[in-house]
Structure formats: C-alpha cells, structure tokens
Symmetry: D2
Subunit: 368 residues, 4 copies
C-alpha cells in the first residue's frame, strides 16, 4: 500500500499540484524498448486542457527524462521522468486554507497526513498527477501495439447524452479512430452536443461527469490470475487510482443483474479454427483470465468536484461551518481528458500481466 | 500477481473443487487475537447452501486449523486452515472433459495452464474456494468489531426485484440485522419474492444474478492511500477476486454520470464537534482516503453460469463445436451466498489498511 | 515482511514444531512442470536425521499434496503440501515453559507474539519448518536441472576440520557427487573426522557448527537486478531465513579484505567464443547480476543452540534467573542436514530470477 | 525484483553515473517527520570524496526535493529527491566502450540490458547511486534517533590493518564518536596507518578493501519476522544492494564455525529487571527477531575494481581479448565512504520493521 503500481513493470508516482515538479519512475522494462516521443506527446495532448472546455491552467507538460532512456530506446534501467509545474497560482488557494472542498480529499488528506501536506491545488491528489501516468502509459501502449494489442476508450455518455456503442464487428477500426480524436466520441454529432452540455455546465458554475467505455483488442487468452490477481482485479485497482473514478464494470456489468444465465453466458464457437465466443457479455474475461475476446469495461467519472457555485462546508481546523466559493481554475468536465488516463493505466496492467507469463524479455529489444 | 491478497495481513489461497482439500494461510496477525469459532461457523453457514435455493452439493465445510491458533487465540504465527472436500462427484464432470462451459473459466484456464489443471468442478476457479475466504474473513471481522467497525451487505436487487435501500439514519441497525439473516434482505417480503424468482429460474433450468449493497460503519477518516492503493482500489481488487463479480461502484456509482457536480458533492458540516458530510454520494471515500462517513459500494453478481439448459459450445481440445447439457449440481443463484464473501474480503482489506497506519499491534492481544 | 518468499514464484510457509502439521504453498509454477516424487524424497532424506549424528526425533516427513499437482505434473494452480507432525513429545518441553533457551528465539518470539505463541519445541522457529522448504525446493531444482542448472553444497569446514575445496575445473562432477551423498563432503576421509567430531560434541553434551560452500553451475549471464534485488541480495535474504545461518559471503568473501584490487578482479577472456573470467573471486556475480561463471558462496551455520550442558538463563515471565538443563531430543550438529536446505532456497531464488526475465512459461510444460 | 527497497517504507532508486541526474523516491512516511537538512548534509559529506584518498570526481551532491517536503517536515506524500550530475566526463570512458572492466558489471549489464544501457561511468551500477540512498537514509536515521535508536559503523580492518573493536560496555559512546568522524575508526592512530595504506595502493595504481563493523543500539526486542523476513534477511538484502559488498555476518559470524554451542550461546540474565544476554555472539538477533541487545554485523567491502594497473579483459561486442588500462577518476578505496551507506540502508530496514509492528504513525508528527 504505497504509491507503486504493478509487479513486474512498476510505476512509482510523485508530486504535488503546486510543488516543484511531478513525475514517475517506470521500472521493469527490458533494454531496447522504442521510446516514441511524438506518440507520447500525442497522448499527453489528449489529456491536456482543450479550449474553454477545460481548466484555465495551461501547462507545457513537457516530459523530461532523467534516466533510463538513451537514443530513443529504453536502457532497461529505471526510467525517471519529471514534468515541471510552471503555471502555479498559490494565491488562488489561500482563501481555501483548511477548507474542506466538497467532493475533494482535502479533509481526508488532512487527517491522513496529520495536517502536514501541501493541500494547495489538491496537492498530491491533484489531477495533475495523471500527466506522468499518461507519459509512461504511452510507453506501455507502444509495447503492446508492437504485439498487436490496441486500447481505445470513448465517452459512452456525458450527463445523459449517449454516444453510439462500439461496433463489435469493426472494433479495431473504432479504436484506431478514437486514438486520433481529441474529444473521444464515435458519433461526431453527439460530440458536439456533449461539448455544448459542458459549456452549459460552465455557465451554471457547475460541472458534469459521464461514463467511459474501453476496449482492449488483440489480447490473447490465458492472461491473468485465478483469484486475487484476476485481470479484472488488477485493471480495477489501477482504474480506481484515477481521482474521479467511482465505478467500473466489465462486459454487461450492472446489466447482469437483470439477465438470466442463459442470456448472460457467451456461447463458444470455432471461427477459423480458433475458439471464440459469439457474444461478449463477459467482457473477454472468465474467472479472472482473458479468454481471447476483446476486454471490455465501463468506467464512471464523477462530475468535477471543483465548481464555482456556492457550497456549504467547514474549516476542518477551526471546526467552523462556512460557505465556500471557489475562484480557482477548474474544469466543467474532465471525462474527455480522463479517457487517455484510463487507456494508460490499462496498458500498464496488461503489459505487466503479459510479463508475468512471458517475462520482461517478451518486450525486449533485439540484442545489439 | 499470485494467489496472495493483502500486504500487512496476507491471505494465501489454495485448493480445487475436486481436490483433497481447500484452504488458506492468514499471515500478519499479532499474537492474542480472539478466534471465535462460533462466529466463524455463523459466517460459514451464511455462505452454505440453503435448501432448494442452492446447489445439491452439501459439504460440512468444517474448518481445521493446522497452525497459528492456540487456546482460542492467534499465536501471531501464520494461521493455516484446511477444509476437506468430502462430497466429490467427479463422474458428474466426465462428460464435460475439455468442454468450455459458457461463462466459466474452463477454456481460459486450459490455455493459461497448458492443459494441466484439474478442471473438474471448476477446479481452482470453483466457488468452493470462497469457503476459506469466509473463514479468515470472520477473523478479520471480529478484529474490526472490537474497534467498532461493522460490515453488512444486503441483496439490493435480484433479477430486477429490489429490496428497500439502507436506512442511512439507522445504518448500524440495518447492518446488525443483516448479519443475523441467512437470506440478506432488509424487507422480508421482498425476500420471499426473490426466493420465488430463484425457484422459477431453477424450474426453467436457468439462473439469476443481482446487486449487492455493502456498508462499512465506523471506519475513521484518513485510511487508504492517495494513488494506486486508494481504498477503492484495494476493495475493488479484492471484490473482483470473487468469481461471479463483474462490477463495483462506490457511493452514487454509475449514477454520477447523470448528476451535476453541485448534486454529486457532499457538503461538509460539523456534528457534535466532528466533521461529517450531510449526504454520502461519495460512499465515504474522497481521493482514495476514507472521510469518516460509512463506506458504501454496490457489487454486481452475474447469474450462475452453470445452467441445465442446452447451450452451444466447443471442445477446446478437438476444436469441435458441440451442444452442452450440464447435469451436475448447481445453484440457480449464488448472490445470497456471495454476500458474506463480499463482507469477508472487505474486512480483510480494511484491517490491512488500518495496520498500514497503526501497525499489526493495533489489533494485538494484551501481553500475557 | 511476512512468511512469503519470492515474487514470481512464491513460497508461503506455516506450521509449528508441535502443531498438527507443517507445510507450504508454492505458487507461480506454470502448468506441466514434472513433479518427481522420488527426487523429492531423496532431498527429504538428505535433510533427515541420520543415526546418532542427529536428533532422536524421527519423523516420516511424508509430503502430502492437497492441491496443484495432478498425474505427476504441476497444474499451474497453487501447490499446497503438508507434512504431519507425528512424533511430538510436548512433555519434554514442559520444564522449559517461559524459559529462554540461550541461542534460541524463545524470548524474542515471546515479546513479538505477546506471549501467545506455541513455543514448545521451538514452535514456528523450529528446524522442522525446513522440511517443506526442502520439498518445494526439490521442485525448483528439478526445473533448473531441466535447464542445465545444477546446485550443490558441501561442508567446507566443521568445527575447524576442513574438506578439500571445490575443484573449479571439474565443478559439475563435484556437484553431482555431493547430490548423491548423505554427508556432504568431497573428501570421504575428512567426512569421517567430522562425524567423529560431532560424536565428541554429543558426548560432551555440546554441539558444533561449520561452513557450507555452495556452487550453482550453468546459470547464464544477465540474471538479477542492479540495486535492491541484486542476485546476492535475494540469495542472502533467502539463506538467512534458515534458522542457524549467521553469515553469507560470495566468492572470495571476507578474504577480499586483505586483497589488492589487482588480485580481486577477475580478468575476462574468450573461451570457445564465450566470455568467461579466468578466476572467479567474485563468485559469478558482478554488480548484482550473474556473469555466466558459477555462482559461489559460503554460509556459516552456528552450533546447534540446544545442548544438554547446564546453562544460565531466565524465566522471561517471572523475570527470575535460573539454570537450564535441556533433556529434549537434539542434534549435536545440524550443518550436514542444513546443506540441502541451502540448496533448496537457492534453487527457489534462481528459478524466480529466471522467471523475471523469461516468464513463468520458461519452465512451462508442452501444451497438451 | 525491481529497484524498490522496503515494504511499509519504500525507497525507489534511479539514475546513471553520466545521466542528467540521480535520485530517489521515499514513500510511506507519515506527515510531520522532521527533515533535518544539515544532518542530511553531514551524512552526505561523510560519503563524499575526501582529498587524495578518493576519486578525482567532485560533485556538489546537492539534494533537491521535488515533492513530499514542506517547511522542514515530511508531508506524508512521496518524497522525491534529485541530485544533479554536474561533473561528467564521458570522454574518459570512450576508450572503455564495450570493454568489460574486471570486477565491474559492464559485461553482466550488457547481457541483461541487451546492449542498450548507458554503461559510461558504470551507468546505473555506479557508486554515485549511493548518494540518494544516504540522503533518504539520513531521514530514517533521524526518525530512529527520535526513538532512541542509534546506528554506527567503523572500519574494523582495511587491507589487514585492524581498528580496535567496539567497546561493548560503552557502545553508544563509540557510535556517537564515529558519527562525527569523516574517516570512521575508533583508534585515530590506526586511522593514519589505514590512510597511508590507501595512499600506497594509489601509488601502485591499485586499490584496497576491508571490513566494516556496524552496531545498532537501542532497538527493542520483538522486531523482525520468523522466516523469510528475518531481520537478518532484510538487513542482508539491503546491504548487498551496495555495489562493493561481498559478504555479511551477524554477531560472531564466520567465527561460529570454530565454536562449541556452549561458547556460542548467549546466556540470558536479568539486569535492572530487564532481560539481557551477558554476551552477544548472536548479534542481537535470535531466530530472525531482535532480542533487545545491540544488533551487530560485519560487512566486507571488496577493493575498488577500478584500478589504473594494466588488466587482461575482452571487448564483449567483438569478442576480442584486449589489455585494459583505465585512465578515469577512481578511488584507491571506497570503504571509508561506504560506511555511511551501510548506516543508511540499515536505518531504512529497521524503520520499516518498526512500522510493521507499530505502523506508519509510530513515526508520525503531532497533529497540527
């Protein structure tokens, strides 16, 4: 129980919203993994603030490698990367000192850290911390794509507005399409409505959330563990480390509650000599192990807790109730930015699981 | 990625449905934790098959301690417990050899284990494995209750039939009530309808699932970790290790997708000099850390995959398609049995998290 | 910090000297690893008491598998094995109640476990616990031998009596020879002197220790980690889990203290197109990584703390000083029994390290 | 098996000798631990190059905190620190390209990393990496000293020249004295001889090693684990992560090989109502658990492998033998610098072990 994710491929995270810098250590890569800076930048840009839909805080988010990378390849030694915090406006938060922002970890963190943490801007709990996650996730996604495994996520619904579902028959095309989008929806028209809804929330000094729908295409059968490291367990654990996530469900998810077993079970069949299922209600996972079908899950992202609307809260130091009015820089929605973070942690978990079976060298570069 | 759950308090699981025995090792307890056999038996009974609602397989499920327990107290050394498999009917499964039962891990497991696993009765993936989990969970629940922390779960919905929600004002009463029930519903009348629905499913050679609603009352604020070991992450990881679970959501869960931030945020207030929230949409967790309110989450349990209805599937060895008709002993529903397993793993995770902050001795017995 | 060893291949240990049974869980094996019972028994016999040289306690030490093994192969699921404690004589220890036996963990354990542990016969600290380690170690040694990696240990010195050193030129022959010996010395004559020395110690109601010299032949270069999981770190960690071990040194070991760098460095050369070193003062490890030369280390085993001689000690409950006279069943030496335990844990660590690089499937059975 | 040390208190290490910077993440501290920069600098200076006794490479080794520290106290969030590499002379190493320096990890690392690592200056294997270890170790030592636990190490022997042993009766005084010394010997006269010996080695283009003797004073009884996380196991694992270490032995260490049990056992006695032992041959540890006596161990440091003398070696890329002459900047001895690294990792392990029993909050700052 620490700030470390993974077993064979470990991600260590550090930093605070208003600190010097944020960053991560990625350890467990073999030597010779291609580090594609432009691909990484693409992913970083997908996470970045886009126009009026997002926070006023603009950061270059330039990834600087301190170790582990040489001439565009992993060395095999720990990769340390830092991202400077340049656009810090502490004074925005002075008024919030010792104030529990509803929906935020200020109070919980204050108790946990005995009052010593730098809570300004959310401190260590800030969404800023997802930037290094996306950076290392890009490396993992590169590795997986080399193996024919592709991950994509779209905004299935935003404050009730629904995108069209994935096309199960042309899933890979959908995934590839999404990975080129800044605002990840399959139906561009729906996307415009969603953007308008976000705008509306901003005008109301409010915020909205939604549901992300993720697909992992190309993962072979037999990956994962039976009990405590079920593939669902490890993906869920990683996904819940993303601030605004409050739920995850695989395949038919909560829909299973209203189905009969005969509807829920996915019949097996033989296609081109390969074992497949004719439906995928189980989201590509049986008993915690991948079954060769696409891994599918939905993630719910709550509305951004930082809103400009007046809210009742307390000063947790003086134990006085107060009315809160936040004037900082905030996102009326983060779901369109969160999607690439979901892709990133998913990639890390799947790469880690493959290493469990095939070892670090599975992703290793040709001896040179 | 192994069969081990937890960090300070570790549970190691072993066994197969038709093997000699199943069991677990619980390590990390201090010396002097009371081991209440009758409480453990109560929990074991809640998991057991009840009449026609459940499987024809009846097991004594007698817990035998091989080590770590002496005179009714933990010694502090690893607790090893075994539960014999007495009622094994391998021949029921001979017809299923190399057959992928839809919704089961037979095929995925066959690939993972290169064809060497004892798949009979689900092998290591069998629900039988939840018996030792409930046994050690009972120990953890005892420890937590000593600290004023109580866990309870009810069947919020079964194939569309809904129980009344928890009474937030008298939550502890509801929890205590449930922990005395064999069939965990808050509204007895609804319970009868659910049982009838299960009966109906059986008659149709089918099965049903549902949603479990869990509450943890009495957990202090400040427990959990900010990123990868968020309390939500660790609970989710543990819950997904239960076979039929396909989704988990905290607080308002997937409902957040349709809310405004101003609705989703829980206003803080002072009550009896203590910081509380006036609503609990966030399920007692902010930024991965407990905030002192009850921890609340829903878990979806899919319909039992083993059904008597004919199903299309394949022989994964010969790669031939076939029609499957299962004649083994199966449950038309397992949700009423799964609830105590959810309580058990939740207790293990919370005890582990408390040890992170206060150490093993927090639960330690008085020096003797 | 638990009773678990390893990362990809994990060994969980349990049991007490006078408990029901002792045992272990071995998790992380792929399906299809050959489980050679007769080889396992050979190793168990090497650990067993031999005639008057050892304890009066005779145990069948029959290994019973509860799970994970089928038709002579690993299933890939956790292997649980138990060894019954049949020859228990608690009354031998009644006189020792609350008495700190010098050199033993009675007192340290009493403090750690708050006085709740079953200290009888050493409880969880008993040498008995090495039996399951040898059993699972045999599985690991089998796996390694399939890959051309052989491990052997001889008694380099016993109470000052020295065996001839390993023949570096015919190291594998020496290793194979030792693995057939019950009393592991390279010079049979020296072996007789050592046995006489052990006899002499017994007659004096005393005990003796010595130094074990271990060689691992056939391990490729590039295995291990640079910093905290140096191959030396992981081997040392495992070796120190053996009760009587008080020191370990690789290659020239403490002899390095008197050498010049020009003497200590191993010159590299090319032999049959392969990189080798012409000396092996570094014991096959540079910077924590194997360099392709045999891995070599010495382990010191202290004299058995249980002696019949009168000793001054205390009752740690009453805090009274007392004179102790032990009448139990004890070994005048355990070094000749410890050697196979050293081989076992070494095998577990090396198999684990290879899995890190090549994955679980490196040792996997051919798909069937 | 990664670059992470510890369980409750985790140290993640990164960097290369000639990279941008080196550093570490320390996670698991509670909020409110005093971060004493001047104490940290003292420790850093003890590790630094001193005059002609050491390398020509001089680094400011200024510790920069990127996160986790605020107003001189730990925040409770991960502490990230970096140390810039300013004095890099790559060209010194161009001649060494693909050359296996005897006693170094160049070749082993090349195999492990498939030829992609930045081997220049030893790369990730460089002694430079011990700088961040000393920095975080200083934090741990501070924490322990608050609890009355003090750690000290002296050069017991250097190339055969021996310091006087620790004064068991006035051990704490010796420890305090050493922690003020730059060249850690108890007998200043002997220190001069040692320095002369180092000088002599330099003149001969050679190097020397020696033995470090460490004492931990004030650790209570009952700390550590019985089997795989024996206190000896965890200390040894950490110590072997230090580059030049080739052996470790507790208490009488390899001397046990020539003792009788009656000599080796430490008689227990009562002193001021406390259980003590009248000798400490077991180095304060019985069965892997601290017994309340000072923890004592010796560590052997091999002579610096980098020497100016001509050496036979190979180019591991071309597989050609060659004669090596190193012209870089090297230490004729590093033992006097290594001692504070030994203190640092020992402190980390002991703080971690105490957290296991008492939790993170044991070291926590008063709520503010």
């Amino acid at each position: 129980m620490s700030n470390i994710l993974g077993k064979n491929l470990t991600l260590t995270l550090f930093g605070e919203s208003h600190g010097e810098a944020i960053g991560a250590i990625l350890d467990g890569l073999p030597g010779g993994v291609k580090i594609d800076r432009s691909y990484m930048q693409e992913m970083m840009d997908q996470r970045k603030a886009v126009g009026s839909l997002s926070t006023g805080r603009h950061e270059a988010d330039e990834v600087q490698f301190l170790s582990g990378v040489k001439d565009g390849y992993s060395e095999g030694t720990p990769i340390a990367l830092v991202i400077a915090n340049t656009n810090v406006k502490r004074k925005d938060y002075d008024a919030l000192k010792d104030t529990a922002r509803p929906g935020h970890a200020d109070y919980a963190g204050d108790v946990k850290y005995n009052g010593y943490e730098d809570a300004s801007g959310g401190g260590h709990f800030s969404g800023r911390l997802t930037a290094p996650i996306v950076a290392v996730g890009a490396i993992a996604r590169n590795m997986l794509e080399e193996k024919g495994i592709f991950i994509g996520t779209h905004i299935a619904s935003l404050h009730g507005i629904k995108d069209r579902p994935f096309d199960e028959v042309h899933l890979l095309e959908d995934v590839n399409y999404l990975n080129k989008c800044t605002f990840a929806v399959l139906d561009a028209g729906v996307g415009e409505c969603m953007k308008a809804e976000i705008e509306k929330a901003r005008e109301q000094c409010d915020s909205v959330g939604g549901i992300l729908d993720t697909a992992v295409v190309g993962l072979e059968a037999g990956i994962g563990e039976p009990a405590f490291d079920a593939l669902e367990s490890d993906i869920a654990k990683a996904i819940f480390s993303i601030g605004a996530v409050k739920g995850i469900a695989f395949g038919a998810g909560f829909g299973f509650a209203d189905m009969y077993g005969s509807e829920a079970n996915d019949p097996f069949a033989i296609k081109d000599g390969k074992v497949v299922t004719t439906t995928n209600h189980n989201g590509g996972i049986n008993g915690g192990i991948s079954n060769g079908m696409p891994v599918r899950f939905h993630t719910v992202i709550k509305p951004t807790p930082s809103i400009a609307k007046k809210q009742n809260t307390v000063n947790y130091r003086t134990k006085e109730e107060k009315v809160l009015e936040i004037h900082g820089r905030h996102d009326p929605a983060i779901i369109h930015r969160a999607r690439v973070v979901v892709d990133a942690v998913t990639a890390l978990v799947i790469a880690d699981s493959l290493m469990e079976r095939y070892g670090r060298e599975y992703f290793g570069g040709k001896r040179r």
